[in-house]
Amino acid sequence: MNKKRAIIVDDEALARKALRMVIDGFEEIEIVGECSDGFEAVKTIKEKKPDLVFLDIQMPKLDGFDVLELLGKDAPFIVFVTAYDEYALQAFEAHALDYLLKPVKPERMAKTLDRVKERFPGKSRQAVDKLLQQHRLKDVPHKRILVRDQGNIYIIPAEDIIYIEAQDDYVCINTLKKSSMKNDTLANMEKMLDPRKFFRIHRSYILNIDYLSKIEPYSKDNRIAILKNGKTLPISRSGYSRIMKLL
């Protein structure tokens, strides 16, 4: 029989061990990795490409939802694990996603593994996407943006962002230090960031108003924004009226 390869992600060593002890009772699952934080989880999942991830929701710095966001399309089948989190439980129920409650019962695990077999390889994919989309609109504005760039994960504080540019399926997030690509839409970014600071000045640009130096006319209808670092960005007519409404 082909064994399913699984990874356990939990920041508490004893919780990982507890889960491992339960999983050891099931022959069809082979644990190929244990991760103690979100960074490690994203890296390990990308490297080892497991069939299945037991993902704890509450973790420092990067929680389960952040890990999912960073994995994007690389996310394998996810089984959420949580001790007690009313918000998360509601979200799982709402999207008919399977989850395990800590401490995990072997009978409950058996049920989950049955479901994994039924739904393999990824019927729950859409549900997870919806859950994530909904989760990202919670607690807005976000104070940080997560970016995965090659093997590295960056946490960009919102106040460091100068402007964001749309590029095909990606957005390019520009800070003083560097610019990073994120697989997301400008519309999503606009929803997540503080609307008092971040303005959609153009179809392809969101600007942090803190970095705006001045606005100059460019042609009859168009204007350009001159940023504090000297860079210029186009401003559309609707973008201009959006800024003027606030200033």
Partner: protein, 354 residues
């Protein structure tokens, strides 16, 4: 009274009660005047129907004069006046009715018959009025006691809910379930440690249950409480948590409200240690000054943490409880630095709000 009349069952009940009264009156009238039963009924039944409505409407009068609001003599006097007035009006109506009978039937006997039974009617009117009033007062007092019972029940429910809520704020479900998860592992891997954690956890829970009812506890008791809490957290966090306690021996006997220390260390764990992967030290310092007690909790802070560490609900609730206990003499200072977080709590040693 109207709400009683809305149900057909009650209307039937009133009819059943009233019918014998009407029949009795008719028999009395018939024996007094020598009229046949049916003739007596013509004279008696319609006025008795009117009397029923007079009696029913006295409900509203009774409701405005409750024994617990006014004194009894006052009520009896007023009800007496009401009885006389109502009965007077009723007699007048009945008299008009007997005259109307004479007028329409072209006879001269009905009014004479009315005069014959006038005294009986007057006595019956007053008696029935008082009887109705008595019944209404009974119903009202029953309603009132039922309401009081319901209120008491509601209060009990509210009290237990408040107790449950206060328990919830002292024992976080998240903490409990995570500890049990850790414990489930320890029972298999290291029973000795599991045993220790079980004792710490039960000490913690017992304190939460028992001490919640006390008004004042000693610093020593509070310290034991947070030690059992931190003991369990240490098992979960492992190397990530180091404890550093500096407690002034003289402060141990001082009194403070229960659960004054727990929110401080909980806050440190939640916003400090659970937000970072790096190991760190939790510092607890308690100093005794001539007039005050100073409690300081310090924990590392990770700048990239998801939640920007603003003082949580726990600290706000603590501040509120201390204000209730001491008035404005307590100080809770929250100092957020680049890489650590310090909470200072100063409470007076005298001048409790008792």
């Amino acid at each position: 009274m109207l709400h009683y009349l809305r149900s057909p069952k009650n209307i039937l009940l009133i009819t059943v009660i009233w019918s014998p009264v009407v029949i009795c009156m008719t028999v009395l009238v018939s024996s007094l005047t020598g009229l046949s039963f049916s003739a007596a009924a013509i004279l008696t039944a319609p006025p008795m129907l009117v009397e029923l409505f007079f009696c029913l409407s006295s409900w509203y009068l009774c409701k405005t004069m409750l024994p617990e609001q006014k004194n009894l003599v006052n009520i009896i006097l007023r009800q007496g006046v009401a009885a006389l007035t109502v009965t007077g009006v009723w007699l007048l109506l009945t008299m008009s009715y007997s005259e109307a009978l004479d007028f329409f039937l072209n006879t001269k006997i009905w009014r004479v018959r009315f005069d014959q039974v006038f005294l009986l009617f007057a006595a019956a009117g007053i008696f029935l009025y008082f009887l109705a009033a008595l019944i209404y007062y009974l119903i009202l007092s029953l309603e009132k006691s039922r309401e009081a019972e319901q209120q008491a029940l509601k209060n009990r429910l509210l009290a237990s809910r408040t107790e449950l809520n206060s328990l919830k704020t002292t024992i976080h479900p998240h903490f409990l379930f995570n500890s049990l998860t850790a414990l489930s592992t320890l029972t298999k891997t290291s029973p000795e440690l599991a045993h220790k954690v079980c004792i710490q956890l039960s000490d913690f829970l017992r304190y939460s249950l028992v001490y919640a009812r006390k008004e004042w506890v000693s610093v020593k008791d509070e310290l034991e409480h947070i030690k059992s809490y931190l003991g369990v957290e240490k098992i979960r966090l492992g190397e990530r948590l180091t404890l550093d306690f500096h407690i002034n021996e003289q402060a141990m006997k001082e009194q403070l409200p229960p659960f004054s220390l727990l929110p401080l260390v909980e806050n440190a764990i939640k916003h400090g240690f659970q937000q970072t992967i790096e190991p760190g030290t939790l510092t607890l310092q308690i100093e005794k000054y001539p007039n005050s007690l100073l409690i300081l909790v310090k924990n590392p802070r990770d700048k990239a943490a998801r939640t920007q560490t603003s003082p949580g609900y726990g600290l706000k609730a603590l501040k509120q409880r201390l204000t209730n206990a001491y008035g404005d003499n307590t100080k809770l200072i929250i100092n957020q630095k680049e890489d650590n977080f310090i909470v200072k709590l100063q409470i007076p040693l005298e001048g409790k709000n008792e």
